[in-house]
Symmetry: C2
Subunit: 241 residues, 2 copies
Protein backbone atom coordinates (compact mmCIF):
# COMPACT_ATOMS: atom_id res chain seq x y z
CA UNK A 1 0.00 0.00 0.00
CA UNK A 2 1.34 3.41 -1.02
CA UNK A 3 0.44 6.90 0.22
CA UNK A 4 -0.16 9.04 -2.84
CA UNK A 5 -0.71 12.76 -3.51
CA UNK A 6 -2.85 13.26 -6.60
CA UNK A 7 -2.26 16.53 -8.43
CA UNK A 8 -4.97 17.45 -10.93
CA UNK A 9 -8.67 16.66 -10.93
CA UNK A 10 -9.35 16.04 -14.63
CA UNK A 11 -10.07 12.85 -16.53
CA UNK A 12 -6.71 11.16 -15.88
CA UNK A 13 -6.56 12.03 -12.15
CA UNK A 14 -10.16 10.86 -11.80
CA UNK A 15 -9.56 7.40 -13.27
CA UNK A 16 -6.16 6.84 -11.64
CA UNK A 17 -7.43 7.99 -8.24
CA UNK A 18 -10.29 5.51 -8.30
CA UNK A 19 -8.07 2.66 -9.53
CA UNK A 20 -5.47 3.34 -6.80
CA UNK A 21 -8.14 3.37 -4.09
CA UNK A 22 -9.78 0.21 -5.41
CA UNK A 23 -6.59 -1.81 -4.98
CA UNK A 24 -5.84 -0.45 -1.51
CA UNK A 25 -3.53 2.53 -1.99
CA UNK A 26 -4.29 5.65 0.04
CA UNK A 27 -4.86 9.01 -1.65
CA UNK A 28 -3.65 11.46 1.00
CA UNK A 29 -4.62 14.64 -0.81
CA UNK A 30 -6.09 15.88 -4.11
CA UNK A 31 -4.52 19.18 -5.22
CA UNK A 32 -6.13 21.12 -8.07
CA UNK A 33 -6.54 24.73 -9.20
CA UNK A 34 -10.25 24.00 -9.51
CA UNK A 35 -11.58 23.90 -5.93
CA UNK A 36 -14.92 22.39 -6.99
CA UNK A 37 -13.31 19.53 -8.94
CA UNK A 38 -10.71 18.90 -6.21
CA UNK A 39 -13.44 18.77 -3.55
CA UNK A 40 -15.66 16.39 -5.55
CA UNK A 41 -12.82 14.01 -6.41
CA UNK A 42 -11.29 14.13 -2.90
CA UNK A 43 -14.63 13.21 -1.37
CA UNK A 44 -14.96 10.18 -3.64
CA UNK A 45 -11.42 9.06 -2.81
CA UNK A 46 -11.76 9.74 0.91
CA UNK A 47 -8.86 12.22 0.68
CA UNK A 48 -8.14 15.81 1.72
CA UNK A 49 -8.26 18.55 -0.94
CA UNK A 50 -6.19 21.66 -1.57
CA UNK A 51 -5.89 24.34 -4.26
CA UNK A 52 -2.47 25.68 -3.18
CA UNK A 53 0.37 23.34 -4.10
CA UNK A 54 2.56 24.93 -1.39
CA UNK A 55 0.30 23.23 1.14
CA UNK A 56 1.19 19.78 -0.17
CA UNK A 57 1.24 17.08 2.53
CA UNK A 58 3.79 14.27 2.95
CA UNK A 59 3.31 10.95 1.13
CA UNK A 60 5.33 8.26 -0.68
CA UNK A 61 5.10 10.12 -3.99
CA UNK A 62 2.92 12.44 -6.07
CA UNK A 63 1.19 11.64 -9.36
CA UNK A 64 0.89 14.79 -11.51
CA UNK A 65 -2.09 14.49 -13.85
CA UNK A 66 -2.35 18.04 -15.22
CA UNK A 67 -2.17 19.56 -18.74
CA UNK A 68 1.19 19.07 -20.45
CA UNK A 69 1.96 22.79 -20.43
CA UNK A 70 1.45 22.98 -16.63
CA UNK A 71 3.57 19.95 -15.66
CA UNK A 72 6.87 21.78 -15.40
CA UNK A 73 5.51 24.63 -13.22
CA UNK A 74 3.63 22.24 -10.96
CA UNK A 75 6.38 19.69 -10.51
CA UNK A 76 9.03 22.34 -9.78
CA UNK A 77 7.06 23.08 -6.61
CA UNK A 78 7.18 19.49 -5.31
CA UNK A 79 10.27 19.39 -3.07
CA UNK A 80 9.35 16.85 -0.40
CA UNK A 81 8.85 13.60 -2.38
CA UNK A 82 9.36 11.92 -5.75
CA UNK A 83 6.74 12.54 -8.40
CA UNK A 84 5.69 11.19 -11.79
CA UNK A 85 3.60 12.90 -14.47
CA UNK A 86 1.04 11.12 -16.63
CA UNK A 87 1.94 12.67 -19.99
CA UNK A 88 3.09 10.75 -23.03
CA UNK A 89 5.03 13.67 -24.44
CA UNK A 90 6.58 15.80 -21.70
CA UNK A 91 10.34 15.38 -21.12
CA UNK A 92 11.61 13.43 -18.20
CA UNK A 93 13.78 16.04 -16.45
CA UNK A 94 13.55 14.75 -12.92
CA UNK A 95 10.88 12.56 -11.42
CA UNK A 96 9.21 9.88 -13.51
CA UNK A 97 6.53 9.07 -16.05
CA UNK A 98 3.32 7.14 -15.39
CA UNK A 99 1.52 7.24 -18.73
CA UNK A 100 -1.77 5.40 -19.39
CA UNK A 101 -2.22 4.77 -23.13
CA UNK A 102 -5.95 5.29 -23.18
CA UNK A 103 -8.54 8.00 -23.74
CA UNK A 104 -10.13 8.71 -20.37
CA UNK A 105 -13.37 10.57 -19.68
CA UNK A 106 -14.86 10.99 -16.21
CA UNK A 107 -18.32 9.91 -17.26
CA UNK A 108 -17.20 6.72 -19.00
CA UNK A 109 -16.30 3.79 -16.71
CA UNK A 110 -13.24 1.85 -17.82
CA UNK A 111 -11.37 -1.23 -16.62
CA UNK A 112 -7.78 0.02 -16.18
CA UNK A 113 -6.58 -3.62 -15.94
CA UNK A 114 -6.68 -3.72 -19.76
CA UNK A 115 -5.04 -0.31 -20.26
CA UNK A 116 -1.35 -0.39 -21.26
CA UNK A 117 0.87 1.83 -19.06
CA UNK A 118 4.34 3.18 -19.83
CA UNK A 119 6.55 3.90 -16.84
CA UNK A 120 10.06 5.33 -16.62
CA UNK A 121 12.27 7.34 -14.27
CA UNK A 122 15.94 8.32 -14.22
CA UNK A 123 16.19 6.87 -10.70
CA UNK A 124 15.87 3.10 -11.21
CA UNK A 125 14.47 2.49 -7.69
CA UNK A 126 11.69 4.97 -8.38
CA UNK A 127 11.12 3.42 -11.82
CA UNK A 128 10.62 0.07 -10.13
CA UNK A 129 8.19 1.66 -7.65
CA UNK A 130 6.23 3.10 -10.58
CA UNK A 131 6.32 -0.27 -12.34
CA UNK A 132 4.82 -2.00 -9.28
CA UNK A 133 2.25 0.77 -8.89
CA UNK A 134 1.19 0.34 -12.54
CA UNK A 135 1.10 -3.46 -12.19
CA UNK A 136 -1.17 -3.08 -9.17
CA UNK A 137 -3.86 -1.53 -11.41
CA UNK A 138 -3.03 -2.85 -14.93
CA UNK A 139 -2.01 -6.14 -16.56
CA UNK A 140 -0.01 -4.39 -19.32
CA UNK A 141 2.97 -2.32 -18.15
CA UNK A 142 5.92 -1.32 -20.35
CA UNK A 143 9.25 0.22 -19.39
CA UNK A 144 10.22 2.14 -22.54
CA UNK A 145 12.73 4.92 -23.15
CA UNK A 146 11.87 8.57 -23.65
CA UNK A 147 12.28 8.62 -27.42
CA UNK A 148 9.97 5.62 -27.88
CA UNK A 149 7.44 7.10 -25.47
CA UNK A 150 7.25 10.31 -27.49
CA UNK A 151 6.66 8.40 -30.72
CA UNK A 152 4.08 6.26 -28.96
CA UNK A 153 2.24 9.38 -27.81
CA UNK A 154 2.35 10.88 -31.31
CA UNK A 155 0.98 7.61 -32.74
CA UNK A 156 -1.74 7.60 -30.07
CA UNK A 157 -2.80 11.11 -31.13
CA UNK A 158 -3.35 9.85 -34.70
CA UNK A 159 -5.04 6.60 -33.63
CA UNK A 160 -7.33 8.20 -31.05
CA UNK A 161 -7.67 11.99 -31.13
CA UNK A 162 -7.48 12.30 -34.91
CA UNK A 163 -9.75 9.34 -35.67
CA UNK A 164 -12.27 10.81 -33.20
CA UNK A 165 -12.06 14.09 -35.12
CA UNK A 166 -12.93 12.14 -38.30
CA UNK A 167 -16.07 10.89 -36.49
CA UNK A 168 -16.87 14.48 -35.46
CA UNK A 169 -16.52 15.76 -39.04
CA UNK A 170 -18.83 12.94 -40.23
CA UNK A 171 -21.41 13.82 -37.60
CA UNK A 172 -21.32 17.51 -38.62
CA UNK A 173 -21.85 16.64 -42.28
CA UNK A 174 -24.84 14.41 -41.45
CA UNK A 175 -26.37 16.98 -39.11
CA UNK A 176 -26.35 19.65 -41.84
CA UNK A 177 -28.34 17.25 -44.07
CA UNK A 178 -30.79 16.14 -41.36
CA UNK A 179 -29.30 12.65 -41.23
CA UNK A 180 -28.98 10.66 -38.01
CA UNK A 181 -25.43 9.84 -36.83
CA UNK A 182 -26.79 6.42 -35.73
CA UNK A 183 -26.64 5.30 -39.36
CA UNK A 184 -22.81 5.43 -39.29
CA UNK A 185 -22.28 3.70 -35.94
CA UNK A 186 -22.09 0.11 -37.27
CA UNK A 187 -19.51 1.31 -39.80
CA UNK A 188 -17.37 3.00 -37.14
CA UNK A 189 -17.55 -0.05 -34.87
CA UNK A 190 -16.57 -2.41 -37.70
CA UNK A 191 -13.69 -0.18 -38.88
CA UNK A 192 -12.16 -0.32 -35.39
CA UNK A 193 -13.03 -4.00 -34.98
CA UNK A 194 -11.25 -5.07 -38.19
CA UNK A 195 -7.82 -3.95 -37.03
CA UNK A 196 -7.93 -6.20 -33.97
CA UNK A 197 -6.84 -9.05 -36.27
CA UNK A 198 -5.66 -7.30 -39.43
CA UNK A 199 -3.21 -4.54 -40.29
CA UNK A 200 -4.94 -1.19 -41.00
CA UNK A 201 -3.16 -0.91 -44.36
CA UNK A 202 -4.57 -4.23 -45.57
CA UNK A 203 -8.06 -3.15 -44.41
CA UNK A 204 -8.12 0.19 -46.26
CA UNK A 205 -11.23 0.56 -48.43
CA UNK A 206 -12.98 3.51 -50.11
CA UNK A 207 -12.60 5.82 -53.11
CA UNK A 208 -9.00 6.84 -52.33
CA UNK A 209 -7.86 3.21 -52.16
CA UNK A 210 -9.86 2.27 -55.30
CA UNK A 211 -8.69 5.46 -57.06
CA UNK A 212 -12.27 6.40 -57.93
CA UNK A 213 -11.14 9.83 -59.11
CA UNK A 214 -14.58 11.14 -60.08
CA UNK A 215 -15.97 10.28 -56.62
CA UNK A 216 -13.00 11.99 -54.95
CA UNK A 217 -13.61 15.18 -56.95
CA UNK A 218 -17.36 15.04 -56.22
CA UNK A 219 -16.61 14.74 -52.50
CA UNK A 220 -14.29 17.72 -52.54
CA UNK A 221 -16.99 19.73 -54.35
CA UNK A 222 -19.56 18.71 -51.71
CA UNK A 223 -17.38 19.97 -48.84
CA UNK A 224 -18.04 23.65 -48.24
CA UNK A 225 -15.23 24.33 -45.77
CA UNK A 226 -11.83 25.11 -47.36
CA UNK A 227 -9.97 23.45 -44.47
CA UNK A 228 -11.97 20.25 -44.95
CA UNK A 229 -11.31 20.29 -48.71
CA UNK A 230 -7.54 20.48 -48.00
CA UNK A 231 -7.86 17.76 -45.34
CA UNK A 232 -9.73 15.46 -47.74
CA UNK A 233 -7.02 15.86 -50.39
CA UNK A 234 -4.15 15.31 -47.95
CA UNK A 235 -5.61 12.12 -46.45
CA UNK A 236 -6.52 10.82 -49.92
CA UNK A 237 -2.90 11.40 -51.03
CA UNK A 238 -1.61 9.62 -47.95
CA UNK A 239 -3.84 6.58 -48.61
CA UNK A 240 -2.65 6.45 -52.24
CA UNK A 241 1.07 6.63 -51.36
CA UNK B 1 -37.32 -15.47 -53.98
CA UNK B 2 -35.62 -13.35 -56.65
CA UNK B 3 -33.36 -14.36 -59.54
CA UNK B 4 -30.33 -12.07 -59.44
CA UNK B 5 -27.37 -11.37 -61.72
CA UNK B 6 -24.35 -10.27 -59.69
CA UNK B 7 -21.92 -8.02 -61.54
CA UNK B 8 -18.52 -7.68 -59.89
CA UNK B 9 -16.58 -10.14 -57.73
CA UNK B 10 -14.97 -7.83 -55.17
CA UNK B 11 -15.70 -7.29 -51.47
CA UNK B 12 -19.25 -5.93 -51.91
CA UNK B 13 -20.36 -8.54 -54.47
CA UNK B 14 -18.88 -11.26 -52.25
CA UNK B 15 -20.83 -10.26 -49.13
CA UNK B 16 -24.09 -9.45 -50.92
CA UNK B 17 -23.96 -12.68 -52.94
CA UNK B 18 -23.62 -14.79 -49.82
CA UNK B 19 -26.34 -12.88 -47.96
CA UNK B 20 -28.78 -13.21 -50.90
CA UNK B 21 -28.15 -16.98 -51.16
CA UNK B 22 -28.49 -17.46 -47.41
CA UNK B 23 -32.04 -16.07 -47.41
CA UNK B 24 -33.12 -18.06 -50.47
CA UNK B 25 -32.57 -15.79 -53.48
CA UNK B 26 -30.96 -17.36 -56.53
CA UNK B 27 -27.77 -15.93 -58.04
CA UNK B 28 -28.15 -16.84 -61.71
CA UNK B 29 -24.74 -15.60 -62.86
CA UNK B 30 -21.65 -13.82 -61.56
CA UNK B 31 -20.13 -11.50 -64.20
CA UNK B 32 -16.66 -10.05 -63.60
CA UNK B 33 -13.65 -8.92 -65.64
CA UNK B 34 -11.54 -11.13 -63.39
CA UNK B 35 -12.22 -14.71 -64.52
CA UNK B 36 -10.55 -16.22 -61.45
CA UNK B 37 -12.57 -14.14 -58.99
CA UNK B 38 -15.82 -14.70 -60.92
CA UNK B 39 -15.22 -18.44 -60.98
CA UNK B 40 -14.43 -18.67 -57.25
CA UNK B 41 -17.43 -16.58 -56.21
CA UNK B 42 -19.82 -18.27 -58.65
CA UNK B 43 -18.85 -21.68 -57.31
CA UNK B 44 -19.59 -20.60 -53.74
CA UNK B 45 -22.95 -19.17 -54.78
CA UNK B 46 -23.88 -22.14 -56.99
CA UNK B 47 -24.11 -19.76 -59.97
CA UNK B 48 -22.75 -19.57 -63.50
CA UNK B 49 -19.85 -17.21 -64.27
CA UNK B 50 -19.00 -14.99 -67.20
CA UNK B 51 -16.39 -12.34 -68.05
CA UNK B 52 -18.25 -10.82 -71.03
CA UNK B 53 -21.21 -8.67 -69.98
CA UNK B 54 -22.77 -9.13 -73.43
CA UNK B 55 -23.41 -12.73 -72.42
CA UNK B 56 -25.61 -11.68 -69.51
CA UNK B 57 -28.48 -14.11 -68.81
CA UNK B 58 -32.08 -13.25 -67.92
CA UNK B 59 -33.09 -12.64 -64.28
CA UNK B 60 -35.35 -10.38 -62.18
CA UNK B 61 -32.64 -7.72 -61.89
CA UNK B 62 -28.87 -7.17 -61.72
CA UNK B 63 -26.84 -5.87 -58.77
CA UNK B 64 -23.78 -3.95 -60.00
CA UNK B 65 -21.03 -4.07 -57.37
CA UNK B 66 -18.07 -2.67 -59.31
CA UNK B 67 -15.74 0.34 -58.82
CA UNK B 68 -17.54 3.70 -59.00
CA UNK B 69 -15.69 4.71 -62.17
CA UNK B 70 -16.87 1.53 -63.97
CA UNK B 71 -20.56 1.67 -63.02
CA UNK B 72 -21.68 3.83 -65.92
CA UNK B 73 -19.91 1.72 -68.60
CA UNK B 74 -21.14 -1.55 -67.10
CA UNK B 75 -24.74 -0.53 -66.52
CA UNK B 76 -25.11 0.96 -70.03
CA UNK B 77 -24.69 -2.59 -71.32
CA UNK B 78 -27.56 -4.02 -69.28
CA UNK B 79 -30.60 -3.82 -71.58
CA UNK B 80 -32.70 -6.80 -70.57
CA UNK B 81 -33.60 -6.10 -66.92
CA UNK B 82 -33.58 -3.45 -64.19
CA UNK B 83 -30.34 -2.98 -62.26
CA UNK B 84 -29.07 -1.25 -59.11
CA UNK B 85 -25.51 -0.26 -58.24
CA UNK B 86 -24.05 -0.48 -54.73
CA UNK B 87 -22.25 2.88 -54.62
CA UNK B 88 -22.92 5.65 -52.14
CA UNK B 89 -21.78 8.37 -54.49
CA UNK B 90 -22.60 7.57 -58.11
CA UNK B 91 -25.57 9.43 -59.66
CA UNK B 92 -28.87 7.71 -60.15
CA UNK B 93 -29.39 8.09 -63.91
CA UNK B 94 -31.52 5.07 -64.54
CA UNK B 95 -31.79 1.90 -62.50
CA UNK B 96 -31.48 2.08 -58.73
CA UNK B 97 -29.18 2.22 -55.73
CA UNK B 98 -28.55 -0.58 -53.27
CA UNK B 99 -25.90 0.85 -50.95
CA UNK B 100 -24.64 -0.98 -47.84
CA UNK B 101 -23.17 1.49 -45.33
CA UNK B 102 -20.38 -0.73 -44.15
CA UNK B 103 -16.74 -1.53 -44.86
CA UNK B 104 -16.65 -5.00 -46.40
CA UNK B 105 -13.65 -7.30 -46.80
CA UNK B 106 -13.87 -10.80 -48.22
CA UNK B 107 -11.83 -12.35 -45.44
CA UNK B 108 -13.86 -10.80 -42.60
CA UNK B 109 -17.22 -12.40 -41.86
CA UNK B 110 -19.99 -9.92 -41.10
CA UNK B 111 -23.66 -10.12 -40.13
CA UNK B 112 -25.40 -8.02 -42.79
CA UNK B 113 -28.58 -7.99 -40.62
CA UNK B 114 -26.98 -5.14 -38.64
CA UNK B 115 -25.70 -3.22 -41.67
CA UNK B 116 -27.76 -0.15 -42.68
CA UNK B 117 -28.74 -0.11 -46.38
CA UNK B 118 -29.85 2.86 -48.49
CA UNK B 119 -32.11 2.08 -51.41
CA UNK B 120 -33.58 4.31 -54.08
CA UNK B 121 -34.77 4.21 -57.69
CA UNK B 122 -36.58 6.62 -60.00
CA UNK B 123 -39.14 3.88 -60.71
CA UNK B 124 -41.08 3.51 -57.46
CA UNK B 125 -42.01 -0.13 -58.13
CA UNK B 126 -38.34 -0.99 -58.54
CA UNK B 127 -37.51 1.05 -55.41
CA UNK B 128 -39.99 -1.07 -53.47
CA UNK B 129 -38.43 -4.25 -54.91
CA UNK B 130 -35.00 -3.02 -53.75
CA UNK B 131 -36.45 -2.12 -50.34
CA UNK B 132 -37.83 -5.63 -49.89
CA UNK B 133 -34.57 -7.16 -51.14
CA UNK B 134 -32.60 -5.11 -48.58
CA UNK B 135 -35.08 -5.98 -45.80
CA UNK B 136 -34.62 -9.67 -46.62
CA UNK B 137 -30.95 -9.42 -45.58
CA UNK B 138 -30.84 -6.40 -43.19
CA UNK B 139 -32.89 -5.00 -40.32
CA UNK B 140 -31.97 -1.38 -41.13
CA UNK B 141 -33.10 -0.10 -44.52
CA UNK B 142 -33.49 3.59 -45.45
CA UNK B 143 -35.11 5.18 -48.47
CA UNK B 144 -33.24 8.47 -48.82
CA UNK B 145 -32.87 10.92 -51.68
CA UNK B 146 -29.80 11.31 -53.87
CA UNK B 147 -28.44 14.46 -52.20
CA UNK B 148 -28.64 12.91 -48.74
CA UNK B 149 -27.04 9.71 -50.00
CA UNK B 150 -24.06 11.60 -51.38
CA UNK B 151 -23.54 13.41 -48.07
CA UNK B 152 -23.91 10.12 -46.22
CA UNK B 153 -21.24 8.55 -48.40
CA UNK B 154 -18.91 11.51 -47.87
CA UNK B 155 -19.45 11.27 -44.10
CA UNK B 156 -18.79 7.51 -44.26
CA UNK B 157 -15.45 8.18 -45.97
CA UNK B 158 -14.39 10.37 -43.02
CA UNK B 159 -15.77 8.00 -40.38
CA UNK B 160 -14.35 4.82 -41.90
CA UNK B 161 -11.70 5.23 -44.61
CA UNK B 162 -10.05 8.28 -43.06
CA UNK B 163 -10.11 7.00 -39.47
CA UNK B 164 -8.57 3.74 -40.77
CA UNK B 165 -5.85 5.84 -42.41
CA UNK B 166 -5.17 7.42 -39.00
CA UNK B 167 -4.64 3.89 -37.62
CA UNK B 168 -2.29 3.11 -40.53
CA UNK B 169 -0.23 6.26 -39.89
CA UNK B 170 0.01 5.30 -36.19
CA UNK B 171 1.15 1.80 -37.08
CA UNK B 172 3.84 3.17 -39.42
CA UNK B 173 5.17 5.51 -36.74
CA UNK B 174 5.39 2.68 -34.19
CA UNK B 175 7.04 0.30 -36.66
CA UNK B 176 9.84 2.78 -37.36
CA UNK B 177 10.56 2.89 -33.61
CA UNK B 178 10.33 -0.89 -33.07
CA UNK B 179 7.11 -0.57 -31.10
CA UNK B 180 4.30 -3.12 -31.31
CA UNK B 181 0.96 -1.90 -32.73
CA UNK B 182 -0.75 -4.11 -30.10
CA UNK B 183 -0.05 -1.41 -27.51
CA UNK B 184 -2.50 0.97 -29.26
CA UNK B 185 -5.33 -1.51 -29.80
CA UNK B 186 -7.16 -0.92 -26.50
CA UNK B 187 -7.04 2.83 -27.24
CA UNK B 188 -8.49 2.40 -30.73
CA UNK B 189 -11.25 0.10 -29.44
CA UNK B 190 -12.19 2.53 -26.67
CA UNK B 191 -12.18 5.57 -28.99
CA UNK B 192 -14.73 3.84 -31.23
CA UNK B 193 -16.65 2.43 -28.27
CA UNK B 194 -17.13 5.85 -26.62
CA UNK B 195 -19.17 7.28 -29.47
CA UNK B 196 -21.80 4.54 -29.21
CA UNK B 197 -23.33 6.55 -26.38
CA UNK B 198 -21.69 9.99 -26.65
CA UNK B 199 -21.19 12.58 -29.36
CA UNK B 200 -17.64 12.54 -30.84
CA UNK B 201 -17.23 16.26 -30.14
CA UNK B 202 -17.89 15.81 -26.43
CA UNK B 203 -15.42 12.89 -26.36
CA UNK B 204 -12.51 14.75 -27.97
CA UNK B 205 -9.32 14.51 -25.88
CA UNK B 206 -5.62 15.15 -26.56
CA UNK B 207 -3.15 18.01 -27.02
CA UNK B 208 -5.19 19.84 -29.70
CA UNK B 209 -8.30 19.86 -27.49
CA UNK B 210 -6.27 20.87 -24.38
CA UNK B 211 -4.29 23.41 -26.44
CA UNK B 212 -0.99 21.96 -25.23
CA UNK B 213 0.93 24.09 -27.74
CA UNK B 214 4.41 22.85 -26.81
CA UNK B 215 3.33 19.23 -27.28
CA UNK B 216 1.76 20.07 -30.65
CA UNK B 217 5.00 21.69 -31.84
CA UNK B 218 7.06 18.75 -30.54
CA UNK B 219 4.82 16.33 -32.45
CA UNK B 220 5.20 18.27 -35.69
CA UNK B 221 8.99 18.24 -35.19
CA UNK B 222 8.93 14.46 -34.64
CA UNK B 223 7.09 13.83 -37.93
CA UNK B 224 9.60 13.50 -40.76
CA UNK B 225 7.16 13.47 -43.66
CA UNK B 226 6.07 16.93 -44.90
CA UNK B 227 2.61 15.66 -45.84
CA UNK B 228 2.09 14.29 -42.32
CA UNK B 229 3.26 17.59 -40.77
CA UNK B 230 0.62 19.45 -42.84
CA UNK B 231 -1.99 16.82 -41.94
CA UNK B 232 -1.22 17.12 -38.22
CA UNK B 233 -1.64 20.92 -38.36
CA UNK B 234 -4.89 20.77 -40.35
CA UNK B 235 -6.55 18.25 -38.04
CA UNK B 236 -5.34 20.13 -34.95
CA UNK B 237 -6.86 23.34 -36.37
CA UNK B 238 -10.13 21.54 -37.07
CA UNK B 239 -10.30 20.20 -33.49
CA UNK B 240 -9.64 23.69 -32.10
CA UNK B 241 -12.35 25.35 -34.22
Amino acid sequence: MKKIILIGSGNVAYHLGHAFCNVGHQIVQVISKSETNAKVLAKKLNAGFETDINKIKQADFAIVGVNDDAISTVSNQIKNMPFAHTSGSVCLKNGGVFYPIQTLSKDIPLDLKKVPFCVSAKNKDFENTLFRLARSISNHVYQIDEKQRKILHLAAVFACNFSNNMYAIAQDLLKKSDLDFEILKPLIAETANKIRQHSPKSMQTGPAKRRDMQTIENHIDLLEDEGLKRLYRLITNDIQK
